[in-house]
Structure formats: C-alpha cells, structure tokens
C-alpha cells in the first residue's frame, strides 16, 4: 500500500536540498582541495546542465536490456518547497548520520551522512582506501562506527525509524539489512542449493523442505533473470556465478535493504550487466539497494544515485542520469590523472617459453592444462581472466615454485635444471604475487628485512655469514626512495602496512632487482588512480628497457591499454595471445567469462594434442 502511495522513489530527486550553492559540476570544479571535500556536494539538477551526459551512451551496450533504466522519468514531480527544505514526510528507509570510524590514526570514514529511500539503488563510488568497505562493514554489523547513527525507517511510515544497534550482525539482519560481502561466504564443496539452504533453514522450522526452497529459488531466478546451476559444487562456478548464488542466498530472505560490497570486482562486463539487471528488478519491487564500486561505468550502469567517496568523506551525491564517466573519474581521483598511452615496440628474443604445460593446482586455484605461452623481451603480454582461473598457478610455475607435471618450461631458450625459485630468481624472473601478504612478505620481519628477502644471500648484505644490518637498511632506504614506496619507518613490522603500501613495497622490491621478466599479478590492486598510473608508466618503462613483461590482471581497461598481446586464462586454459587491438571490452569480457570464440578454438586445439 505504501508503495502505491509513494511515487517511484527512483524518480524523486535524490537530495534536492542545496547545502552548498555554487557547485557546478564540470571538469574544473572537480579539482577540489581536501578542505573542500568535507561537505557533501549536493548538486542541483539545473546546475549540472552544461553539456549533456554522454557516457551513458557508451555504456548502453553493456546493459543487455536498455529499457531497465529508471522507470517513468516523465512522472517526476517537481520538488516541492517542503522537499527542497528537506522537510518532506517520506522518510528515508536508511539514514546514516555523521558516521565516523577511525582506523589507527587515519579516519576510514569521517562524518558520513546518507539518506536512502525505499526502492533506490545507491552506488557508493570510491577508489581503493576511500572507506567503502568500512561503510559496508558498519552496515552489515561486522564493525561499529566510533561516532554516528544508523537509522532504519519502518515500512509503515507512521512508525518512527529505529536506531540500529551497531557492531552486531544479528541486529543488522533483524533490522532488515542483508549483506553480500566482497569475499563470497560460500562453502566450495557444497552445491549452490546447499549453500543457500544453510542460511534459509530455521532451527525452529527444520521441516522447510528442500523442494519448497528450490521452487522458491527458481521463481526468484526467473524473476531476476539469473541463470546459475544450483546443483554443482560452488567451487566449480565462476566468479559471476558465485555472486549470483550469493545474491540468491540473500535475496530469498526478503531483506528490505540489500548491501553489496564491490560485487563486480571479479566480474566480466557481461556478468556485471546480468547482476545489475537483477538488482534493478529487485529495486523495482521495492528493495533498497546500496552497493559499492570503484568503477564509474559500473556506477552509471547500476545506480539511481551515485555517492562519490574520497578519503573517507562524501565528495559528491549525484543522480546517475545527470553525470558522466569523465565527471565521476575526476571526482574519484580528486585530481587529473594522465592516462598512459604506450607506443608499440618491436619484441626481441624469448625470455620465457611454456609449451603445453600441465601443472597441479595451487591452493584453490584450478590446475593448468596444456598451457603454451611465449614472452619476449620488449613486449607486454596481458593475461586476462577473472580471479581463480589459474593465475596463481601460472605465477607459481613461472617462478619455479611448482614443477609442471607435463610440458616444458624454458628460460632464455634453455631448460632450467629444475623448477626452483632460487634458480629462477637468479635467472632474472621478478614477480609481484597476487596476494602479497600471503605469498610475498614475512610478517614479524621489518620493512627493511622484507626488502632483502629475495637477495639475503647476496654478499652486499652479509659479512662472513653475519647480517650487515647497516647495509640492509641502506638498501631498503634506497629502494623506498627510488621506487616511491613512501614508507617512512624501515623497522616497522611489515604487517602494520596498509594494503596499498604492501603492494608498492613488493613492486619496489621487484623493480629494484632489475628483472628480465617482470611478472606481475594484479600489479595495481589496492592502489589509487594516481598510483596505478605510476605503475603503468613503470611497466612500460621496463618494457622499453628491454624487459619482458607478463601482466596478469582482471582489469579489462588496464589490459587493453598496456598490453601488446592479450591472452585469456579461463579454468586453467589460455587462449592464444592476440594483439591487443583485436579486442574491445566486449569481446575480452566475453572471453573472460569463457564464452569467446577464441577460447573455444584454443580448447579444441589443446584437447587434440
């Protein structure tokens, strides 16, 4: 009944109240200094008028059903005086009031306000480290703010909103907040249906039959346009399918508010489009949705409203239809980030060759099958793929950590005596692992000690078997200065560093060893836009200096901009690398999802050998 009386909330102006009168959102206005970032830029629709939004057109093909854009814009009522003053009675279903959470010294979020109306899709758009996940953790009850309130509006508007008890998952669920976390909490050996049933079974009503659940789920899947196999172990599903299971698991519990933390982080563009369509359907049925993203195009495709975060503060609160990608990118970075445009360079001798390599799986990563790859000096090979398609296994093979069970590996045209990381390191294979904390650094040891981890046997750092502490520290200081690690304390235990600094530390260590093969797995994970551009420049510089670069990534943009050739890794099989110009976002996304024609060609070829 309520829904009938309320106008479609997606059509009401997001925050009509103009707290700061003179904000004109164009390119120049995006250069806000930090002091200016404190307020929430609420944009008057009229003010954003210069220049029609263009980016939506670019994104249109991404959404398979273009008609899912917010319904009935024509009925949009003019904001009444009452609404403009923020006095309208339609209360927000979710209201965040002055949330502040400090982590260590730095605030993760600072004085964050947000009103979300029923049926609205709000995208919290922010770069790495902007506080998105902190917000989600507070909403989901995993964390509690140091200051500030969360108010949940009742479905019945006569009832006053309730204050959410923070720091309790149970309280958040009772209040109607369902959360899809960044790391899907699914048991890999159980089927999708079993995973969903874990959450659905009530101890009080253990008789809820599996058949009823299955019926309910297939109805839900039909309605949301999801297609995922429910009866196979979750471990065999792709990232996109896992998110669908996770969404079903949460959505079938009919939470009025859904919170999703970077659901598209590991998805191909096509998988994202399917997810957004499902979210749109849910929102039209009255579910309120808050999701985080760091990609402007995702935010434009998914949201009614886009709230941009930077360094824990809200810097803009915009309606999706009134902004474009360029605006969002500028807001996101807070400054202009020069795009990297490499010039092609002719490749030379092969540094690493893999021919028809089979390798056993590395932790939860699938095994490699019949993988062939040549990386030459002076070229960048991009390996595209959504996470857990064999990337970690490939890194382990190329660094000598695991020995292929079949096939050959050749360094500089010669077979190494055995697969041994020390041998491969000496041959000049430098690496940045995907999960640096897990695979690259030793907790309990200092920054300086971690920087010499790979070369501790070197005579520079030892004196007849004794450690030369001064040489180690000098070396560390030099690496930190030269490679922009920006780490003031050499003696700090490495586990106290932020993820971005960890990544830069490992990148610095690798670049400093002047490797012949630069092997990077998610080189720019956790980095912000400026740092990312810096790493990209560095990779190109390495290539131009004659190093071979193998860049494993799930970032389509990065792959297509930097790579000379791109191959797609899917379930442990690699497509034949093609010149990067042969791809666009769509085809690459399709292949990463395992649908591409090239991938099929290759698997047929591989199977025939």
């Amino acid at each position: 009944m309520d829904a009938a009386r309320e106008p479609p909330s997606s059509a009401t102006p997001a925050t009509p109240a103009v707290t700061s009168p003179d904000v004109v959102l164009d390119q120049e206005a995006a250069f806000w200094d930090d002091s200016g970032a404190a307020w929430a830029a609420s944009v008057d629709p009229a003010a954003a008028a210069p220049g029609p939004p263009v980016a939506l057109d670019q994104q249109a093909p991404l959404i398979s059903d273009a008609e899912t854009a917010p319904a009935a814009p024509a009925e949009q009522p003019a904001p009444s005086l009452k609404e403009a003053l923020g006095l309208e009675d339609a209360p927000a279903i979710l209201k965040l009031d002055g949330l502040t959470r400090h982590r260590g010294d730095a605030p993760a979020i600072e004085d964050f306000d947000l009103d979300v109306r029923r049926g609205e899709i709000v995208v919290l758009l922010g770069d790495n480290g902007s506080g998105k996940t902190t917000l989600v953790n507070i909403l989901s009850g995993d964390d509690a703010a140091d200051l500030g309130l969360i108010l949940i509006g009742a479905a019945n508007r006569r009832r006053a909103p309730r204050r959410l008890r923070q720091g309790s998952r149970a309280a958040a669920r009772r209040a109607g907040i369902g959360t899809v976390r960044r790391q899907p909490a699914l048991a890999g050996t159980l089927t999708g249906l079993q995973n969903i049933a874990i959450g659905a079974r009530s101890l009080l009503r253990p008789t809820l039959s599996r058949r009823a659940l299955r019926t309910k789920l297939s109805e839900l899947m039909r309605r949301l346009g999801l297609q995922v196999e429910l009866d196979v172990p979750v471990a065999t599903l792709s990232g996109g399918e896992r998110i669908q299971i996770e969404l079903l698991k949460t959505a079938q519990q009919n939470f009025p508010i859904l919170v999703l933390d970077e659901p598209t982080a590991a998805l191909t563009p096509q998988e994202s489009a399917v997810l957004f369509k499902a979210l749109r359907t849910l929102a039209e049925a009255g579910t309120t949705i808050v999701l985080t993203s760091r990609r402007p195009d995702d935010a434009l495709a998914a949201g009614d409203r886009i709230v941009v975060l930077r360094e824990g503060r809200k810097v803009a609160d915009l309606r999706a239809r009134q902004c474009d990608q360029a605006t969002l990118t500028a807001l996101l970075a807070g400054r202009a980030v020069a795009r990297v445009a490499p010039t092609p360079r002719s490749a030379e001798h092969a540094v690493v060759e893999l021919s028809l390599v089979d390798a056993p799986s590395m932790s939860e990563d699938p095994p490699l099958a019949q993988l062939s790859l040549v990386v030459r000096a002076g070229e960048i090979i991009g390996i595209a793929g959504t996470p857990l398609n064999g990337q970690s296994t490939l890194v382990s093979v190329l660094t000598g950590l695991i020995t292929p069970t079949a096939g050959q590996i050749r360094l500089f045209g010669r077979n190494p005596r055995r697969s041994d990381p020390a041998l491969f390191l000496r041959a000049g294979i430098g690496k940045v692992q995907g999960d640096c904390r897990r695979d690259a650094l030793v907790p309990g040891m200092s920054v300086a000690e971690n920087l010499v981890l790979e070369c501790i046997g070197d005579v520079r750092f030892t004196n007849q078997g004794l450690l030369d502490g001064r040489a180690i520290r000098e070396h560390a200081a030099r690496v930190i200065a030269r490679h922009g690690v920006g780490c003031p304390d050499l003696d700090a235990p490495v586990e106290t560093l932020s993820p971005a600094r960890v990544r830069k530390l490992v990148l610095g260590r690798m670049f400093d060893s002047k490797p012949h093969l630069v092997l990077v797995h998610d080189a720019t994970r956790s980095l912000d836009l400026a740092e990312r551009a810096e790493v990209h420049r560095r990779l190109i510089a390495e290539r131009d200096d004659g190093a071979a670069v193998l860049m494993i990534s799930d970032d389509v943009e990065e792959l297509l901009t930097l790579s000379d050739y791109v191959g797609v890794l899917h379930r442990g099989r690699l497509s034949v690398p093609q010149p990067a110009g042969a791809f666009d976002r769509q085809t690459l996304g399709l292949m990463m999802g395992g649908h591409g024609s090239l991938a099929q060609d290759w698997s047929g070829w591989g199977g025939g050998v």
Binding site: L147, Q166, L453
Partner: protein, 368 residues
C-alpha cells in the same frame, strides 16, 4: 561495547605475557589441589620452599633446569620453523636409550671412550628420530605432529624393555621415577654440585649460541623468514624443506643430547632419567616465545614449578600428578597470554553526534 583490535605486541607486553602466564599456572595449581579437597593452606610457602628453600631443593631445581633448557630449546627451534614437533620426550628417551645400550654392549671398552661414543650417539639417535618425521612430511605430506608424538611411546617402550623396569614405573603419569644405570657405565668422578653446575653451564651456552645465530646470522634470518611465512620464503628462493630437515635434526640432536647427558650423569645431578622432561620442554618453549635466550629463565621457572609442586603434593598427600597439572596449566596459559597480547582491548561507547537542530519531521536519534 568492547572491541578487540589486532596490533603488534609491544616488547614490554611480549615479555609480560609469559610472566603472567607462568604466575597464573603457579596460582592455579594449588587452586586445583584445593578444588580436589586436599589441604592447600600456605600452598605457596610450601611450593617456594620446595623449589628454593634448602640446598637440596635448590640443587633439585637447578638439576632439572639444565635438561629442560635443552628440551625447551629443541622444541623452540622446531616451532620456529613451523615444525609441530611434540617429540622432544621421545628424542630425549631415545638418546638415553642409546647410551644405556652402548654402555651395556661396551662393558669392556675403556670408560673415556665409552663416554665419548655415547655422548655422540645420543644426539645422533635424537636427530634421526625427528629427521624421519620431517622428511616424511616434506616427501609424503604426512603429519609430523602425530608421528613425533607416537615415537615418544616407542622410545618409552624401548627404555622399559632395555632396563627391565615395568612400563608403568616410568610411564609419564607424573611419577618422576628414576632408574639406576647399568653397572657397566662409568659414573663420573665429580661431585653432585659440580655436575649440576656443568650441566647448567652447557645448557646456558647452547641457548646463548642459538640466540646469537638467530639474531645475527643469515641462517637466523632464513629461519625467521620460514617461521613468519613459509610460502613467501619459498617464493623468495629459500629451500624451506631442506632447512626444516636440518633444523629438525638439530632440534632432535639437542633433545637426544639431553637424554644422553642425563643417562651419563654429567647434567642433572642424580644420574637418571625422569619422564616428562620432553613434555615440560614444550611448556618452556611456549613461555620463551621467539627468543632462544628466554629459554633460560623459562626453564628455571618450569623446573621450580615442578620441584615446588612435587613438594606441595608430598606435603598435602596429593598424587604426584600435580606436577603434570602445573605443566598442563602452563601449556594452556602461555599461548593464551601470547594471543591476548596481540590484541588491544578498547571499551567503546558510541556517542551520538551533538544534535544540530534536526529539522522537524526528520528522524531523531532518540526515537525508538
């Protein structure tokens, strides 16, 4: 609400945690006694005088501390490279068994030669008893925890068979039984006090050497890297399996040496094996944390705890198993304290922001 936040433990806390854990064990042991209905009045005085009160008590404590330092260091070294070695007991008994067998076999060989050969054989047996499970772990992926634990039983049965003692007599029930060495073994001509002093000196020197190696050498760096993150160490080109095997052998050799030296009587004073020294060594290692040097005070403390508890159970007429309870409490308290020291506990009250004249009709914070 109360919030637990992970952080690196500051040095002072890292030292305080095991001290508090040890105190907790010392307090809880008499408390258990009282719970069981035994008179536990003035328990501390009894324990203290049992551990330090007389010359005899002191020498008993110091005599026990030396082998505890060796088994404690052995356990600490294995733990430091992520080997879950629970077999210091078996390696110690194995080392002793080697001495007993050699002493019996070489009855006609000149005594000094027997001593030298036996002193070398003990560590060798201990090293093999740990190297085996570690090699199996690297090659076959078997679990070294179970293998080392079961080897303890095998060594115990071996000792029982070799000495003809009933198995029960030296079973690790807490009864700290000793047995006489075969007559063929030469007893050292030194006095009791001198033997205790020599034993302590050897054990302390070994601990200091171990500390110097881990702190100042490349080997130590590599060990710390493996202990901190074996995967990263492998990626960095460190031969983790080989080093674990080496460290395992050294660790086993230390325990085996402790056994041989005990059997030969040149540490530990009384010239006999007591069961339980290997298990108590695990408690020593857990108290010592990551510093080999800290094994010295930890071993002295555990030795005092054992001798004090023995005195207490004699005074209260309680079973000798009380010493095992004390060790068990230490084993529980030490890791718990270490884990807690890595968290800071904050009591947080969510303070609502100052109400800045909320517009009428908008939700107010105190609405329920």
């Amino acid at each position: 609400m109360i919030r637990f936040e992970k952080r690196g433990a500051p040095l002072a806390l890292e030292i305080a945690a095991p001290v508090l854990a040890g105190l907790a064990a010392a307090v809880l042991t008499p408390a258990t006694l009282a719970l069981l209905g035994y008179p536990a009045r003035s328990a501390f005085a009894v324990m203290a005088s049992g551990a330090f009160g007389s010359g005899a008590a002191l020498s008993a404590t110091f005599a026990m501390a030396a082998p505890l330092m060796l088994t404690g260091l052995a356990s600490l070294l294995s733990f430091s490279v992520r080997l879950n070695n629970l077999g210091a007991e078996g390696q110690l008994l194995g080392g002793a068994l080697a001495v007993i067998l050699l002493g019996t076999v070489m009855a006609r060989v000149p005594a000094p030669l027997v001593i030298i050969i036996a002193t070398l054989a003990g560590p060798l047996v201990g090293a093999l008893m740990l190297a085996g499970p570690v090699a199996m772990k690297a090659r076959l992926g078997t679990d070294e925890t179970v293998a080392t634990l079961l080897l303890n039983m095998i060594a115990l049965i071996g000792i029982a068979a070799a000495t003809g003692t009933a198995l029960a007599a030296i079973a690790p029930t807490g009864a700290q039984q000793t047995f006489a060495l075969p007559a063929a073994l030469p007893s050292s001509g030194l006095g009791m006090t001198a033997r205790i002093a020599i034993g302590l000196m050897i054990a302390c020197l070994v601990c200091i050497a171990a500390m110097a190696v881990t702190r100042y050498t490349v080997t130590g760096f590599v060990l710390r890297a493996i202990g901190g993150n074996p995967t990263a160490a492998r990626f960095a080109g460190i031969p983790v399996d080989r080093i674990q095997l080496t460290v395992g052998a050294v660790s086993g050799a230390l325990a085996g040496f402790a056994g041989a030296a005990l059997a030969l009587g040149f540490i530990g004073g009384a010239g006999g094996i007591t069961a339980g020294l290997g298990y108590a060594g695990i408690a020593v290692a857990l108290l010592a944390g990551r510093w080999p040097l800290a094994v010295i005070p930890a071993a002295l403390f555990v030795a005092a705890l054992i001798t004090g508890t023995q005195a207490l159970s004699r005074a209260a007429g309680a079973p000798l198993a009380l010493a095992d309870i004390a060790i068990a409490l230490t084993l529980l308290a030490a890791p718990a304290a270490a884990a807690l020291s890595r968290y800071s506990i904050r009591i947080v009250r969510a303070i609502p922001p100052a109400p800045s004249a909320p517009p009428a009709g908008s939700p107010t914070p105190n609405a329920t």
